[in-house]
Symmetry: C2
Subunit: 351 residues, 2 copies
DNA sequence: ATCCGGTGTCAAACGTTTTCGAAAATGTTT
DNA sequence: AAACATTTTCGAAAACGTTTGACACCGGAT
């Protein structure tokens, strides 16, 4: 009895005085009940009288109490937070983030994006991070890491555009094959016949698909595949320079080049300029990805746009379905790409 | 003795068989030591023989153990993670994220972006989120929420471009006054004399500063301030339409308009088109922010660019300094803006 | 007397880290 | 060689803040 009042008038102001976050114990003391009761009152569990609930909620209000996400996550394995693991906050992941965020806007899930501090020490940080967050803290994960390694977690995981890794993981990706097809067809429609290709990293799945799309388009048009028009650019701007140079200096150089990604395409445009070739007059270039730089550069790059926000939204939808225990018919979603014609493409110069 | 081997060969495969995350207890059992020893070995604490460390690390490797971020954060109040709270993953925050991420790349901090699921129920979700994460889980926070409310947390917090709220919080913002000055000066240099202004939300600090910048530029040029050229657009595209209409229909309409943000500017350009006015021929327009849409629209919008990535980087730097216990000389950082001339501005038509 | 909803408390988790002390190993002095 | 001091190595147990199932209490109805 006297204990209760002692708590109300004594302990509570004391706890408030010290600028420590109010814990559930402070609230309990202030309301003159046990911590268990506070927990139940706050979470609306059954078995607490409305009168007590009111007292507890008053104390919560007074002390500005918020349950610690960490502590509660620790005990009850549910947090209502879905995590998205990104290698880096570069443009690509930022776009996906927007898509995921928009898709989750209406849901009751909070979104937490996690990015390791850049120490991409070989492999495994994605596994490490996922492991450290899963089981606690997040109820589901979206991985935007190029290489999705094995992940024996108990939470649902969906991968976005994984370049390599577990094929059995639910996945959302853009249609690399179709995009390459579009790009190459477009060049053919413009009238090009000698079309070069700067390939990506051969170990990544997307690279193979883009290669295949390129060949398919040639086949459709009855243009024989000529290995001398293909170079490996490895997806990086620097690594693509040398192959681009070699390609454009070759005796019978192509009138157009399809690059497996925008970075390679940019390298080509630069190399062309250095060689005194005019783009698109002497050489047409098509990229893949539509990174922001593509539309900013001069001339603006014709490219294949990946629907990154839609990728994010689709992944979010898929993940939420999985988290609700549903088993979606489609666990591998492929989204169509779109050709964005800009200023680096034109019909070949009549010769 | 036999106990050790029993553990190694017995307990460990068992723990591995069940697809539960390996806990520190599993590792302890597998290595035949106590959990305390495992913790110390993993964290490189002093007082464990190298031989034991090796045994523990082997077990860790074998079981694929990763300490739970949540659990460790629970006990030792340090996590090595800094949190950035965003209202939404829209373009603005995404840019800032990139800046913060890049700045933190080299540091040892991991980055965690948290976004409540869109229930911006009046006020307070930023306080709630911050409170739920702080003290546990994150060691420092960057807030990208427009309204930064009081935050009695024990972790360092810095705000980015807060439109309103605590002035004593360490803050990084772009130079609204200077930007408005640049914009208006530019119009004056082009030869405009009747320059309209579509103001922002009067309750936000940035709006007041942009207004002040506009007036200062006029004053410098000896152009009298004319209240009939000012409308309040409230920063939103929809809310700016009506004021824009009223401004452009006024008897002696301005030859140029400076809008307090890009959304307002876009509204003006649209309204002008509807009224049959040619931009920039009949009307020059300058915006503020340089949102992505600004460069994509036709005609591309002349605007004041906020260095959003730099804002993020500066905030990260400031926060890290605070977290290291330093007391930086500058806790209020203002970054310069830059005029980006594009296609919506031209000298006034000679009349 | 027993049973019974309706309320509230106890205490055990959750997976770590850390303090403290015990035990063992080593060194030092008679 | 015994006794003692010192260091090294390790484990027991108490936190951290919350949730939850089992249980105790109590007034009233059987």
């Amino acid at each position: 009895m006297s204990n209760v009042f002692e708590n109300v008038f004594h302990v509570c102001p004391y706890a408030e005085a010290m600028n420590r976050r109010a814990t559930i114990h402070d609230v309990a003391a202030a309301a003159g009940v046990s911590v268990a009761t506070v927990s139940k009152a706050v979470n609306g569990r059954y078995g607490i009288s409305t009168e007590t609930v009111r007292r507890v909620l008053d104390a919560v209000q007074l002390l500005g109490y918020e349950s610690s996400l960490v502590a509660s996550s620790m005990r009850s394995r549910r947090t209502g937070v879905i995590g998205i693991l990104v290698a880096d906050f570069e443009p690509f992941s930022a776009e996906i983030l927007k898509g995921v965020g928009a898709a989750l806007r209406e849901s009751s899930y909070d979104l937490l994006a996690y990015s390791g501090s850049g120490q991409h020490d070989g492999n495994g940080w994605e596994r490490r991070s996922l492991s450290r967050l899963s089981g606690t803290l997040i109820d589901g994960a979206i991985m935007v890491t190029p290489t999705v390694v094995t992940a024996e977690t108990e939470i649902p995981v969906v991968a976005i555009d994984p370049h390599t890794g577990r094929a059995d993981l639910p996945t959302v990706e853009s249609d690399s094959f179709g995009g390459a097809l579009q790009a190459t067809r477009y060049l053919i429609e413009l009238g090009h016949r000698r079309i070069g290709f700067v390939a990506g990293r051969p170990d990544l799945r997307s690279a193979g698909l883009r290669d295949a799309g390129y060949r398919r388009a040639l086949g459709e048009a009855g243009i024989p595949f000529d290995p001398s028009l293909v170079r490996v650019g490895l997806y990086q701007r620097e690594t693509a320079r040398e192959p681009a140079l070699s390609l454009l200096r070759s005796p019978d150089r192509p009138t157009a080049v399809f690059a497996a990604n925008d970075l390679s395409a940019i390298a080509i445009v630069q190399v062309a300029a250095e060689l005194g070739l005019e783009v698109p007059g002497d050489l047409s270039v098509v990229g893949f990805d539509d990174i922001p730089e593509a539309s900013q550069m001069n001339p603006a790059l014709t490219t294949i746009r990946q629907p990154m926000q839609k990728l994010g939204a689709a992944a979010a939808g898929l993940l939420v379905a999985l988290m609700n225990g549903e088993t979606p018919a489609q666990t591998h979603i492929r989204l169509p790409t779109r050709l964005v014609p800009r200023a680096t493409t034109a019909p070949p110069r009549v010769s």
